[in-house]
Every structure is written in C-alpha cells, then in structure tokens.
Subunit: 399 residues, 4 copies
C-alpha cells in the first residue's frame, strides 16, 4: 500500500519543504492539514495553497477556533489549569485538538501515517504522539525533526537540491508557538536564565509600565464558564478574544518561567496569555464564593494533577477523564459575577455577587443580625484539637 | 488555689478592661503578656504600663520580632504557605508563637488559666486554644468574648460601673490584625462582597496606581531562606522589613479574598503583605531552578496541606511536623539569586542564577553544544503513552 | 406549635422508654421510625407495635434493605471504601439512609424535631446530625443520650416512676450495631487493647479455625457492581447476603482494629463483614485487570478521601459528590469475572477474565507471539530517570 | 581505554555465558559481582568461582543480607510499602542495593561499564539503570538481553561455538526472583489470568490449607522497626527470617496479582513474602495505636506515593528522600508490642500495648471513669457540618 502521510502543517519553511521530503522518504503522498486556532498571522488560504504548491496531494484548512475555545480552553479555566501554578497550558491543550483533526483527516483521505514537526527534546512530540496512539494506534507516526534530524538547514539544502522555490525569511532567533489562548517564546538569549526578557519578545501584551488607565470589567460565569462580559453575552471564543485585548493592553499575563519539561529537563519559557490569566483569576474568585470549603481544598490537589496530566500529553487518558468528572461536578454552582480592575500587569478582583453564593452575611457579620451561635465554638475547638492534644501529651511523656 | 489568668494583652480597650473583669469573674489575678511582632503602633512600654494600671499583677512585654521572623515566617516562605493559594497566613502563624510565650509566662508566674480576646466565630480562637491544649493542657482557657459575650459596649459599661478610667478612641469600623508579616482587615462595608475596598483601608502598601518608578531587587536564598538583598546580608526580620518597604511602595501584596474559615463560614478579608508576597514569589522562582520535577510536583500538594494545617490552628500537630520534615528535606539546595522587578502591584521575576541549578544549558539549548540525545525520545514517548493507548483501544472495542 | 419528634427507633429499651420521655421533655408527640437494613433479630412488626405501646403517635417500619444495598453498599464496594484500609464503613453508610427516611417521615407526619439515641463521644451522632442539617436544617435535633445524659439506668428509673412496663433483658456487655453489610462490636473487656476478642463476640462469621472445606466462588461484575455469583444473576442485596453466608462460613471479614474516631479519640472496634470484605476483595482484583495504571494509582488516594468523608458523616457533602463523580467515571469498564477461594478467614483471588481486560497476552508474554518492542525501553529508561540523574549529580557537586 | 564491564552476576547460565560474550562485544574485560541477599540456593563461593571459570577477570561475592534487611526492608515496613496495596516491593528494593555495590565495585576495579541481565519489558531494567545514572552517570550501561537480544538459546549457541562448558539444567518454565524479603514468580501458564497458581510454584510458604496449628507471636517495635519477637531481641534480618519461617509455615504472604508495570503493560505476578506481610501487618497495627489521626490519614497517601516511587525505580530520587523524611518523622513513637495469630494464610492482630499509646481508656470507655466531656460534642457537630449544610441549602434553593 502506498504511504499517505497526514502532516500537521504550519505553513512555515520547515514543514513546507518537509512535504516533498516526506513523500520521497516514504515513497508516498502527503496530505497537509492546518488548523486555525486563532494564532493570527498569515491568511489560512495562502497556507493551504502553499502546501499544494509544495506537492501535497490534499491540503485542508480547518477553522477550529470555536472548538478550541469551547472544548479545550474552557475546561482549562474550570480546572484553573496552571502548570507549576503559572502556565495556562497554551500549547499543551492545542496539541490534542490538532491530533483529533489529523486523525479525522487520515480517515477521510485514507492516511496511513501521521506526521508532526516537533523535535525530540520538547513536550509537543509527546502530546502529538500519545494523542495519535490514543485515538488511532493503527497510524504510523513520522517525526522528521526527531527521527531524520530534519532541520531548517537541511530543509534549505533539500529545497536547493530539488529546485523547490522557497522564500527565505529572516529566521526569528526564538521558537514561538501561539494560538488564541496565548503565546510561547523560547530559546535564543533566554537560554541564559539570568537574562531578562526584552520588550520585543511580546506580541499579545503591552508593556505593563506604559501607564494605560485602569480598566474595570465584570465577568459573568455560568457553571464555571464565562458567558458575559460587562453584561454582554459572549461565546467562549469571544470571551478569550475580548480579554486578550483588554488584559493585553494592561500587560497582564506575561510569564517568565523555568519549566519542568516532561522529557526530564528544565527550560526557560516566556509566555503571554492575557485572556487566559484574566479569566482564570476571575474564575478562582467566583469559585471562592460558590464552592464549599472541603471541596475547594480538595479541588486544589485535583487541579495540580489535572495540569500535570494535560502538560504531559495525556489529554485523552482515563485518569484525565475521571479528573474531568470530578471537576465538572464541582462547577455546577460556579455562577455569578466577578468585578476586576485590569491595570499595569495585574488583574485585581474587587467584587463578586452570585445567586449561588455560599457567603451568608448573617453568619459572617459582626453587626446586628448575627445568626452564628458562638457557644457552639467552644465544643468545636476542643474536639478539633483533641487528637493533637493527646499526641503532644504523649510526646512529652514518652521522651 | 487562687486563679491566675495569663492574658494575651493587646493594649486596646477591650483587653484592658478585661483585666479587672477577669479578676472579678475568676476571683483571682491577671498577668498581662504582650508580644512585639512588629505590629508597630504604640510604644510597647506604654502598653505594659497600661495593663498594670488596669490592675494586672504582672505585665510582660516580649520582643519576639526576630523569633517570629525566623521560626514562623521563614517556614511559611519555604512552604510557599498560601491558604487558598493567596493568603500568606499572617495571623495564623502569629497565634502559635503568642501561645508559646503565654505558656512560658504561665510557668514563670504560676498561671492557672490562659485567656485571649477572640470571638467565637473566627479562626483565632481555634489557633489559640489548640495551641494551649497542645502545649499546656493543664491550663484552663477563658475566652471572655465568646464565653461571657464580652464586647466593647460591655467593656465600656463595666469601666463606668467600676470607675476605671478609659480613653475612648473612635472605634475603627474595621477589625484589624497586623504584624511584620502582614495586615488583615475585615468587617464594616466589606461584608458586602460587591463593595470594592477603599484606599483608606491600607497602611502597609501604597496605591499600585500612583506610578512609582519600577524597583529592581535581587534576593539571595540559602536552603530556601532569604539571606541577602541586593548583595547585603540580611536577617530574616530584615528581609521582611526591607521587602515590606520596597514592595509596599509599589502596592504589592494587596489581597481581596472570600475566605473559608475553619468554623465553616465564608468571610471577606482584605490583606496587605508586601514583604511576604514578594519573598514567596522569589522563593518559588528559586525552587523552579533548583528542585527536581517530581519533588516539585508533589511538594505542591504538600504545600496545600501545610497551609490548611497552619490555617486550621494545627501548628503544633504531628502532621504539621511530618510535613515540615518533607519540606526541610526539599529545601537543601534552594540556594541562589532571583532578580525581580517590583512595580505597580506586581513582583515580576526576570532572572535567576544558582550554583545548585538543575538547569543544564547544554541539554536545553537548540544551539550548538546540544547534548540531549533525541533518539531516546521515541522510545520514551511510546512507553509513556502505552497504558493509555491500551485503555483507549479497549474503550473503543468494548462499546 | 406542638413539638413532633421523629425518632430513629431501634426497638430496644433505651429508645422505647425515650418515647414517653421525649414527649414529656418537649411537651409534644413522638413518631417512631424503624428501618429494616437486614440487621435481623426481632420481627419488625413487633418493633413497630412496641413504639405505639410506649406512646408513639405514629410508628413506621421501612424495609430499606434493597435501597441500602444498592445505593449505599454498592458505592462503597466501587470505592473500595475501607477506613484506615480495613473497615468497610458498615455503620457509617447506614446513618445517612436512616436520616433520609427520618426526614421523609418528618415531612409526611409534620415533624418539628428529629431525634437519635447516640451518645456524645461516638461517630454516629455526627453522621446523624450532619445528615439532618444537610437535608433538613429546619428540623430541630434532640440527642437525649448526649443532651440529657439519657442512659439505660435513667430509662429504667423513668419507666418505674411512670409505670411503663418494660422487659429488662440482660444487657449485653457490648455495644453492637449491625446491618446486612456487617456488624460492629465495642466496649466491655475489649477496651483493654491487649485483650483478644473471644469467640462469643461473633454472629456473622464462623471461627476460621474450624476447618470448613474451601469454597470456590466466581463473582461477576458490571461497571464495578457485582451482578452474578457462580453464574446466577443476583441483586446487590442478594450478592451481599450470599457472600455473608459463604464467606461467613469461612470466618472471612473479622476485623480487630484501633480506630480513629472523628471526635478525636482512638477506640477499639471488632467488626465482622464477611460479604463486604469478600466483595471488595473481588472488586479490587477486577479493577486491577480493567483500570489503567495512572487512574488506578490516583484512585487509591481518592479512595482514602472517600472513606474519610463517609466515616466523618459527610455522605451528603459537595466533596463526596465530586469524589463519586470521579469514581463513577472510573468504573465504566470494571466488568468481568473474578474467581476466589474462600477459606479459613481469607478470600484469595486466583483467576480473572474480562472482555474489558487491559491485560494483553501478546505484550506480556515472554513466549513466541511477543509484540512488545524492547528497543523502545532504552529511551524510556533514560528519560524516565533524567531529572533524578541531574539532581543527584547536582547534589554531589554542590556538597 | 579498555572496557571493563562490571556485571550483576547471578550464577545462572545466561549471565555466565554473558561473561565471554560481553568481553567479546566490548573488546574488554568483565568483573562479576554477586550479592547474597538471602536468596538461598547455591553456595556463593561456587557462584564466585563459576564467573572466574567463565573468564571474568575479577569475581566478587558480597554478603549484603544485613544491609538489605536494615536499609531497604525496614524502610519498606515503616512505609507499609505495598504497591497496588499488596506487593511488598521484594525485587524493587533489591535493585538499588545491587546498583550501589556495582558502582562501588566499578570504582574499586576501574570499571567503565555496568551491565545487568534484565529484559526490555520488565521493571528491573529501569530500576538498575536509573540507579546507575543516579549514582554514577559516568558509567556506560549494557543490557545484553535488551540491547543485543541475548537469550538462553543464544547463550547456549554461543557456548557451543566457543567451546565453553556449560551445565544445561532443565529450565524452569517460570521466571523467578527471590531474596530474604520474598519471592516473585511469573510467566508460564500464569500468563493466562484465569489459570490458578499450582502448589509447586511455592517455596517460601506452605499450603495454607494443610492445617498447621495456629501460632501466636508477639512483635515488638521501636520507632517503627521490629526489634524483638516473643521477647527475644532480633536484628532486622533475624526478624524477617524468623517471620519467614513461622508465617511461611502458615501459608501467609501468598499473592496473586495483576500488576501495572512501569513500562505500561499489565502482567500476572505470583509472590510469596511471609515475613514481609506479617511484619507489615503488625506494623500497621502498631501505628494505629501510636500515630495521631490526621498524620495517619495523610501518611496513607504518602505511602501510595512512596510505593510508586520505589516500584518505578526511583529509590535514589529527591522525591523519595523527602517522602522518607516525612515517614521518619512519623515513626518516632511507633513503639510497643503487637500480638498476632498466624494461621491458615492469615496474620490476625488481636492485641497491642505501648507506652507511647494514644489510646486513652478514660476517654474511650463507656464505663465509670469516663473523662470525655460529651457536652462538647454538640458544638463540634454543628460546626463540623456547617459548610456542607450551607452548600446543601444553596443547592436546593438554586435549582
């Protein structure tokens, strides 16, 4: 059977020249699949045409922006999905969606192989390939950058040898991945951990120091999902886009991290994710009002595990699904409004209201109307501390 | 035996009038104990004298600032101790230290009772009393505000009836607790969750919007503890004080939370903890460079539990001690420098360096010098995803 | 309004005499509610009549055996719900069901109060009362044993004073609670932890040492629930009853524990739960074949929390519901057969088969047919250990 | 530099013929290192000589029984280290010790390589190799069974071709690994999960059904470690050996598991570990008396993680060390006596006593002398359930 390689196609030089290269290496044909995840930049139709020009037998562009926002970004917000407590999993959640569409394309176009452009030292190879083996283990996987040491230099040389016309733009010193949920920048001078990021790195956010006037915003949630901004209904995609714009204008969502990669090494990463960070901040505040204490406490450890699973490329794993079930159940009443001030790099919550609130003014107040029966507290305190009291007594006596 | 009540004495009207009141209720004597935890305000000698004037048979003032910083604040930094992911446990860590000194005073002055001024609906009663029963279960506990419904009004009435001269300052509409690690403000109009905090609430921090010039600072850590700032050696207390000043000038460390109290209710809390937040931010960045991935991941869940234990008044509990042992072991190599920019409400890390770094440029770089063997990755990816692959296959076939 | 006390009525002397006593104390009426949870003993109609004879205005008996087995015991099996790794929560899961029916009876009979016979130092008071406040906080709670120090002696005295005819059986030296899921025995000479339990304590199990012939049984599961035994379809109740009989005949399910009560003290408990232990053992073996590794690992910590929540009387809590959602999702494929030998106190699994199995002979075998690609392992091992390798190297160099 | 391969040498045919094979493949020399871990069988001196006869330039036998018992088995007991809740990590804890001695031998004999006989689909390759890279990353690793597909057939063929005299014993159909802590059996007809194990599999345990008379034993612990049996002082090694004998005579410690291997597949494993299971059972009972409730609860999840780390070959990892620190702290007061009856496959605890006991008869008893203040319970119950009560009320109202 002739090989048919379904390639995750970005439109860049490397994956463009990879089209004839993969055809040659496999003796088969290449189907290019490109997803619009809100990464911006070039017109997607040009991307599609370029793949055909490079020799792809089919080239497909899929507008997956709404699907991405609804089925991948919103669960991340509900999970307060922050790897290492900071990184909102921007690239990590995009890979399983790309995988899903590549697998569908492989079915539609009788693909025998799937292929991606990731190297062998990053996380994304893992996310692509566990996705492929989870959803379609019958497809063979080719990772030219890793398996054939395919590089930009090799791509240029191959293009020249094979008379493939290429447009050689000046290569950015950085490796960049972006979609509507955020933007990741690595390599270059950032590989020295002591070097501070420079202003030219950023594209989604303004410098927090420029002094834009504070911007007050009200985010409304239903069941853990943002559904309105300042009273106007929004789709998940619109929520992210609007908050990207408004929080981005205030320099919110810039991250400078040393990150633990799944492959066992640490790396320096710069992110900007203004909408993601603003929305998660609001979501956490909404949860604080509407989720019961013990559930809230336990959910914190569930969130750590959820973020690890997703970061580690296990979006389609059984554990991820059970964690999702826990989180979905927890979100039933995460409904109401959060008011925030966006300013100078920070989203600050300063008000919340909800018909599902667990805050009880009459129990909390020290003013008239107090319904909390303080005489109950004495007994509570005594039994709350009893096992520790007995243990401390034993410790003293046993010495 | 005549009762001798050792009272946690603040110098305020309520606990001052409580001195003769407790003496009357118990038919005994009162020993006043006041701790200087860096809360500022009044001269401690005046406080000491006021207790004597009110009838205390002994009045002791203890400068516990360094002890507090070293033995209570530093462990909180090493644990990244943030209740609900935000609150650096300002009041929660002060209570066990006050307890410790009250118990010592009870031994010195033959105390039979200990007493505190907390109400029956807050956390601090629990922290005081579990501390007392942990360290000295033989002492009886009196909580006049809870057990005798002792209030400001009652105090004033009692003072008038008993010809006790009092100075009736205008009562703040807020309930405030403060020490060198931070400041807590509650009640008043804040009890409506939709009301934003007003500027006059704050004392440790400037308004982040006033536009002070950014302040760059280098914090040096040894074994998880800050030991130098901008190259100058500092004690733990000095580290907190300097960062209070510098981060406070930038409006860093303001928190507006809905908090889950131990007694089962939610309450609105405003905090300012500029030094605490700045130091914990730096500490987390130092850990990211020097702690191995799996340890770092697991420590996150340990931190959640540590903060809960401390918040819940279990500083002296056996579980807290075992969590401490875990954390202490983890901090051995958390040594090096972190550079941060303090500005407009936010501490932003932009550089880190360490002789104990786990970051390996040669493994991480995409440039020449790369020592990472990418051919290893293929096998890793396959086995990493194998159990999920088998499960997904089963799921499809079993439907 | 006249008080109407809905009483959890056992038929014993204490709760019988409590009927007129509660009527007198509240100036109202008493409605007796008794549940058949398979505890055996007396005919339930006699129990019902006795309450009326003692002055209850209504007396209701509810056959809740199937409901208990299906909605309370089966979730415990799916959760492998073993407090302290041993106790299958026999009494803990019965209380929320009794509560549910008392609350329903209160609605039907216009109850204003609910009442139970538990003391103030056990767990069951907590389970009753958190259940009541969760489901019907408008009902007042009376716990005569705790709140009025109601005891057997007091009951006898009260009966004599009020000419209430009572049948004074010889009181067991033990406190016993039992239902179809098991039997709990405490107090008496067992309060000395060094005393071994005596043979007369047991009623659900034979002495394991008597040497009954081994009994081989095949338990079939669907979605984590036992549905057939030796090929015959069974209801949840029948599954427990049959395994009580067969595992009981082999002395399986006897437990001798020092237990951590919710109220902060340790107590000695003897349990017998032959069906529960046999079914959980089989369930764990079924899970080992059908649940993916990472899910199985994480479920272990979920199980610890689930058992704690249920033991602590939080059956109806939000956290319990989210844990249930996790567990339900995990059980989808826990389907197949487990073969066990029941003998001499132990249920030993020795075979399992399933159409949902994740065991793959061709991957596991060392014989011909092996499909596991061993060359993948080398890369896996290297990256699996890489972060620890780097850390150990750092540790040596940093010393 | 000439290669010097330090080989983990078992004395069996495969590793014996591997000696000249490794010499040939590397063009170097082989140093054989054999550890006595109490696996019994052949005299270790014969093993040593056989390696020399096969061409090893050095052959070393190390009696590591006491070190193994003290530094590897005892921590496992203190951690109640049971993978999947059952398997006491018999092989998993032996590999890091073998690694340690191989690394020492490499230093002593100027080794350049280390080598082991494990295949590429098991756990032990991982445990060996993460151990090697943790302790001595400068050594190259050769795994002939995996990297050169070295098998018994290949060994026999190589021996014949090279005139190496071999004694071809009838190969067991099973793959067996054993040491003083237990014995593991896999492959053969056991690869069909429905096949029950046969009696001939077992060597450390009698058939539990043979009806030996019950054997009562008292195990004494100090700080979590068994130090005496029936009043006689024992070393860790003696404790294991004596309990192997006595619990083995009763058929205790037989396990039949479907196990989740680290490499992602499930496998059937039969274990016998009479001493390990008996000692862990006693240890758990000792902990129940001497460890405070919250610490005990949390330690359960720590134990799950500890067992996973050790199973996964991460004995020398930073996380393992921090978990150890937690456990060590928890064991301080795990001191006292546990009485057990060993009989027919089961170790049943029926008594415990300790000067470090947290059990307080006066708090627990329902008899005279009761010091538990039941009036405290009412307040406790109310606040314990308050947050869930508020949440349930909200849930009803918000529907």
């Amino acid at each position: 059977m002739t090989a048919r390689v379904v390639l995750a196609y970005s439109g860049g030089l490397d994956t463009t020249v990879a089209i004839p290269y993969l055809a040659k290496m496999t003796g088969g044909e290449v189907v290019a699949v490109s997803l619009d995840l809100g990464q911006g930049g070039e017109d997607m139709e040009s991307v599609r045409q370029r793949a055909l020009d490079a020799g792809a037998v089919e080239s497909v562009v899929i507008d997956a922006k709404d699907e991405f926002a609804t089925d991948y970004c919103m669960p991340t917000i509900r999970a307060n999905g922050l790897y290492q407590g900071e990184y909102p999993l921007v690239s990590a959640i995009s890979r399983p969606l790309i995988v899903k569409h590549l697998v569908e394309a492989a079915k539609e176009f009788n693909g025998t192989h799937v292929s991606h452009g990731c190297t062998g030292k990053g996380n994304d190879q893992v996310r692509f390939e566990t996705g492929f083996t989870d959803l379609a283990p019958e497809l063979d996987i080719i990772a030219p950058a890793r398996d054939y040491a395919w590089t930009r230099d090799k791509a240029i040389a191959f293009a020249e040898e094979n008379d493939i016309p290429i447009e050689q733009s000046k290569k950015s010193p950085f490796s960049i991945d972006q979609n509507v949920f955020g933007r990741a920048i690595e390599t270059g001078f950032l590989e020295d951990l002591w070097n501070a990021p420079t202003k030219d790195l950023y594209a989604y956010t303004e410098d927090p120091a420029i002094g834009n006037a504070p911007d007050e915003v009200i985010i409304s949630f239903e069941g853990g999902t943002p559904v309105a901004i300042d009273g106007r209904k929004v789709t998940p995609l619109e929520a992210i886009e609007e908050m990207n714009r408004r929080a981005g204008a205030q320099g919110i969502g810039r991250l400078d991290m040393v990150e633990d990669r799944l492959v066992g090494i640490k790396s320096r990463e710069i992110y900007e994710a203004p909408g993601a960070i603003a929305l998660i901040t609001a979501h956490q505040a909404m949860e604080a009002v509407t989720i019961e204490r013990e559930l809230a406490r336990y959910k914190r450890t569930i969130e750590v595990e959820w973020a690890s699973q997703v970061y580690d490329g296990l979006w389609y794993s059984p554990l991820k699904r059970s964690l999702d079930a826990f989180i979905d159940e927890s979100q039933q009443h995460v409904t109401g409004d959060v008011r925030m001030v966006l300013h100078a790099g920070k989203a600050t919550v300063n008000g919340r209201r909800s018909n599902h609130s667990l805050y009880d003014f009459n129990l909390a107040t020290y003013d008239t109307g107090d319904t909390f029966d303080q005489t109950m507290a004495k007994g509570f305190v005594q039994l709350h501390g009893l096992s520790s009291k007995i243990a401390n007594k034993r410790d003293r006596e046993a010495q």
